[in-house]
Point group: C5
Chain length 378, copies 5
């Protein structure tokens, strides 16, 4: 295979999209070791404790100080955005008694969304979409215990603003309920974040559909391919959330209370809706490729019809004209092109040409080649 891409390197963002799914640990690394990935962001720790009585935001100093906050209020939410500090994560793991493998999954940010049960806590992985970029997702991992929720994000910036606002202003149900409800609220916010992305894809698809149906361009197929590929990657990101939410609903773990399961059911419906939309878009896009191919064929038909009509009419006429352009010596024999000397030779030949052209036009008209849309005879 040759490397034609030597001059034009493949655009960076595409390369990342395909290989962003690979596992990042070197084969043979010891399972359960914590080594931050190259390019990980520096951590920002946010600590909120709240309960029916109100919420307090704490400043992060040391992990030991953190330990004392535990149990003060019904819910302690520690959010770590940026995963560059393996020591911090390891200390948090020790403080809350977390499993080494789960901590490794926190750092190796290419996990599929999943739920894992450990003694006293659950480990949940989800993927968050960035609204500004399209199919790029960021790993969100959290440890849900009886009175704490420990969340890890790959980067700074998230879609949890409204949830934080609700905790701060003590609006909604979130302050009255435990960390399981908070966990649900975050997952719900992440899954809702996929809808605007899909909506944008829907608009792209509609624009392409209008183009392909009304005036196809050769670039449409590439755009459709691009769209299909991104929907494929999006589907792969969305699909395991369904299973993950379902596991949260069904597993008999005391960490999640019955009333939160009702809310998770709602969340589950949303993941199914997401998948439904992605699948529908993919099927429409696939169908559009067929429509495009068929449009291109129809166009070729039309081009060939024009060529055939023109060539078929003029080639015989040209033959007749060049017939009488031959230089046979009319003087040498009465058989040599006597027509050239006829009194009405020229008008007669023109008439013959007119009859041939008319006959061919009538033939094409009967074949339906002169009509616009129709492809068949009569």
């Amino acid at each position: 295979m040759d490397q034609p891409a030597s001059k034009k390197p493949p655009p960076k963002h595409r390369r990342k999209r395909l290989s962003g799914i690979e596992r990042s640990t070197a084969p043979g690394a010891i399972p359960g070791t914590l080594e931050p990935l190259a390019g990980a962001h520096a951590p920002v720790v946010t600590i909120v404790s709240y309960g029916p009585g109100g919420s307090t935001e704490h400043k992060f100093t040391t992990v030991e100080a953190l330990g004392k906050l535990r149990g003060l209020k019904p819910v302690l939410w520690i959010d770590v955005s940026g995963l560059a500090d393996a020591t911090l994560i390891a200390e948090l793991g020790k403080l809350f008694g977390l499993h080494a493998l789960a901590l490794e999954d926190v750092i190796n940010v290419h996990q599929r969304p999943k739920v894992e049960e450990y003694k006293g806590h659950m480990f949940i992985v989800a993927r968050m979409v960035h609204s500004e970029e399209r199919t790029e997702t960021e790993q969100f991992s959290c440890f849900l215990g009886r009175n704490f929720l420990l969340t890890f994000q790959e980067r700074h910036g998230d879609c949890f603003g409204p949830v934080r606002e609700r905790i701060r202003s003590a609006r909604g149900r979130v302050c009255k309920l435990g960390p399981d409800y908070l966990c649900y609220a975050l997952i719900d916010a992440m899954i809702d974040g996929y809808f605007p992305v899909l909506e944008r894809y829907g608009e792209v698809l509609e624009r392409l559909e209008d183009q392909v149906v009304e005036s196809p361009r050769s670039s449409n197929v590439r755009d459709l391919h691009e769209l299909k590929r991104e929907l494929l990657l999006l589907r792969r990101a969305v699909w395991p959330h369904r299973e993950m939410v379902n596991a949260l609903i069904r597993e008999e773990n005391p960490v999640i209370e019955a009333q939160t399961r009702v809310y998770l059911r709602d969340c589950y419906d949303h993941t199914i809706q997401l998948m439904d939309i992605v699948e529908t878009y993919r099927e429409i896009a696939s169908g559009l490729v067929d429509v495009h191919i068929s449009s291109v064929s129809a166009r070729l038909n039309e081009i060939m019809k024009v060529l055939t009509i023109i060539a078929t009419i003029f080639i015989p006429l040209g033959f007749i004209a060049s017939l009488y352009g031959m230089n046979f010596d009319t003087a040498a024999s009465p058989w040599n092109m006597p027509e050239l000397k006829w009194y009405l030779g020229y008008p007669f030949v023109l008439a013959v040409m007119g009859v041939i052209a008319g006959g061919l036009l009538w033939y094409f008209w009967r074949k339906g080649w002169l009509g616009g849309d129709r492809l068949g005879p009569r």
Copy 2:
């Protein structure tokens, strides 16, 4: 990606069809809050109470007055058409003890059909088709309790006329049985409402089939694409009803009595039939695209055959004619085109041309290019 649609906005109804599936709440909204959607209709409340003894229609005044009607007769049916009044829905929710999430689903009218069990009542979502429009569906949600049925519709106008008439005239089984039978009757009416829609698609498909098979047009592929897309959306609307009805049949809830389950089984069969028809139509439509592409190719073959026959016959003849149109000086040398001076030069050349034309025609005839339908030799 360029925006060619700047001048011609995509037709409004299509845009709606694709993006009508998105979730309507803003990401980050508090789960369980009731904010009516933009464009929701003003509610019209219809109240009927009935039992074996007959039916009474009540005028709606206040929700408190409604509370007193409860229990007077075996069945109290409250129907709210139009979801613009969140207060009314919230008060009804309080009166009947309904879950906040279910009420939110009533208002956010893009739910998939589903069944949810709550203490003392079931929450059912279905989608109703409008006969005048094609794949547009309206959300129907209902709360089914021991002695009441609370139904919510997105808009005024429905397909429940015959059921109302049966209650009014005390015909059929409906007056003798409880609210579960009423609920079944409404679901059955909604599912039956899909059949006329499908019948119309069946007619469109047959017309397209006749066209494609007998005289294909280039517009057919677009029509087929349109049809396939609408069937896709219809399938997505119909599919979850199967699961929903199945859940009603299987779940051990005292709200639904055993004899109603027998009727629901019938309803379940209808949803399977619907899916069967939709799938069959989709497969036929997909097959038609192939037939069309193949027709277009066959047409191109025919066009090229005409061009090839004409060009192949006349190009050699034209060459011979122009050969003798050359102006070599016959006087300068006896080798210079002596044919021009032959006694039978001209007839001889004409004869040669006739032989060549005849030979080529025979060759084409043997190749089968002069026959009509046959694509192959002999």
Copy 3:
């Protein structure tokens, strides 16, 4: 969408085939009411009672008289062919204690094959094929009780002749066993009836295969589409029988005895074989469409090769000939076409033409365009 079918109405039988799958009751009809369909046949009632001792055929007078026959012999088989008389069916329903919904399904003859259990009897729906028509099926419904079998057919004429003959002549096992064995024998006869239909499709498919592979015609794609569509409808008719027979085998109903289940297992194998054959035929037919499209493309290649060879050889030659047909005044300048006056000008030009033609032929031969089958070079 325009209506090109205004002059040529679509052939009646095709229209029927597609829309014959729609449900026949008007939406909103009261479930469980009995209104015979338009075009239902007048009923013919045949009554046979038999047991190990022999069989008696009874004349049908009234339903009450029928009631007295019950229990006289181990098996009472009442067959009603033609469903126009709703009163008769209702009375039979009352006599045998049948459910209203089941009776409605008897009359609405577009049910999918299914099994429904009721107290004291089973309700079974199957679809019978007419050997003279191809995919048209007729509904067969039956009620199987402890000592009776009540069968309903849509039309007169069936494939039960051999079973009747066996009862009359007391041959085979049928007289020694109960109504469940009779029911099995009828279902077996119906399922066996699909095999000759499939065999005919197999022959059509083989004929098409020979044509497409040996000498494709443009009509083949339409025939293949027709075949695929009919196999699709056939599959839809056959598929639910599998589930139906399986339900009969597995359901723990005392109406069906263990030894009959052994026979039903055999019947189940046949339904699987049917599905196997239908699926195989469909896959072969789909593959043939590809072969056809590829044949048509190969044909186009061949046509274009002929055109290209002829045009490519003669267009340069024609150019040379017309070059020397130019009328530059050789007298005006020694630079003006001195070749015309050369002694060997004409033979030289002919030789040049021959070399060009030979070179091009050699080029085409090397490209492999002069060989027959090969599409590639060398």
Copy 4:
């Protein structure tokens, strides 16, 4: 549909392959009757009894004599090759207490592989491949009891030679174990028999792959279609073996001992491997059809490029040449083709032609049409 096959009958072996899957009993035959099929082979009976002590081969005289052999040694293996003698089969059935339906399945040799349990014995059907023919399979049925194995083959000749040899020479485990191990050994031999067949298909596929990729011919599509069809039939033959072996492993029948189940698990793995290979071959073959279609299109492109280059260069040149072949009377007016009389008229025209040809060649070179493989510009 016309019958183009009137002159050339479809090759016999293909017809047989497609319709060989139909059921052979006439519809309406009494279930459980034994009528040998037309063309059944005369039976050859082989009797071997063996145990840890050694094996004895018995001559077959009568069925009664056979009865006495039962129980003499741990295993009695009776093999009947050829199913023409219904009486013999019926008598064997009576002797061993076999079910009539199973005996019918022995004779009607189009059964799918399956396992059926009866009191005291199991009935197993498998299909054996003939190495000399390709997808033709022969039915093997056997009855496995506590101390006997009764096997029926459609024809003489099988792949059991090595098993027989092991019994005769008391090699391997077979003599120490019961009839269940013998049964396993036979099934294993049959399933192993499919591997060489697949290997041959693999070779055909590779040859086709080399051809299609390196120098496609139009016959390749037909060969691929043939291959795909045979793999389809092979899959249908192999597929139910998986289920059959699985049933043998899982069913709690005392006839099969635990240690034999371990061996059957191995056999099960082989059936899965078979299916894997068949599916892989089918997918590769399907992909090859696409490669072929695309090769043919690329070829057409190349042909059209040659035609277009030649025609596009010479048509304008020819036009210029014929322009100066016009006979306008230069004497009549100074405006009439004064170029003809220019001193450098002819060289000038030739130069113009050269410039045009060069410009067009440069244009084609820039479009990338003069390169070999590249389809696009630059």
Copy 5:
């Protein structure tokens, strides 16, 4: 079928890849016999025993000596690389009490990955990828007991270096845990070994994607076919690992401890990720074939447009030119081409030609044929 490959033998590595999946024992071989395959490598035995206290490497002398090492330390790992010595394997089997069938599977190196339970030990088969070759896999089989792990590899060289290093240096968890953890570590290393292979395929796919989208070549389809086939083979290799790891997690065998199951869950996630990536790559590759076919068609359109524009403009002009090249005798009649003698005859004809050419260009411009990308009118 002809053998065009006589001169050019199919490249060896491809043939191997397709037929490398066939079973290697001759049909009819005695199950459970140990005959090394032709070409098996000579065995190299490595023995390590370790525990929390440290690890010892032993030299292999005889199998009896080996027996004495058993139980000395918590874990005894015996690795046999190369399967040519059947006696050695048989003796090891006797020493550890292994089942004959499992030993046969060790030697017949075309097993699918699987888990089999035996009394006191488990038998596990996996497939290891060689990083230097692409889809070639090597069989890894192991017997996992309470205090030993017996591993067999097809060839020397593996990806277990890091695991061995960890044992030697007593790093990580491996020395503190039993043979089940060692077994997990080996499986994990093998599964991680697939990721670099996939990454390379991802790069190939991206390069092809760039080529097809930016400047398609006819060789791309073949490369895509090759890629799809290798992904197909890779999928077949990877797929059963999922099931195998799942079986290890779920089966209630005391040989695998609960804490190891947690690690296996991680391993399971990796197999799912592998499958996800393979499937995504396959779908993208399939989509690319469509993009390529459509590019080729668009290219053909462009070629035909150039031909049609040139031919359609010059053929009529050429006709006019040859019209006035006719030699009608203007002297014989005033009707014979009087234009030739007009004062402005020649300029007039040139003007007519200009008008025709301009009109046709305008027509093509309106059709959108002169624009670059657009395929449709306006």
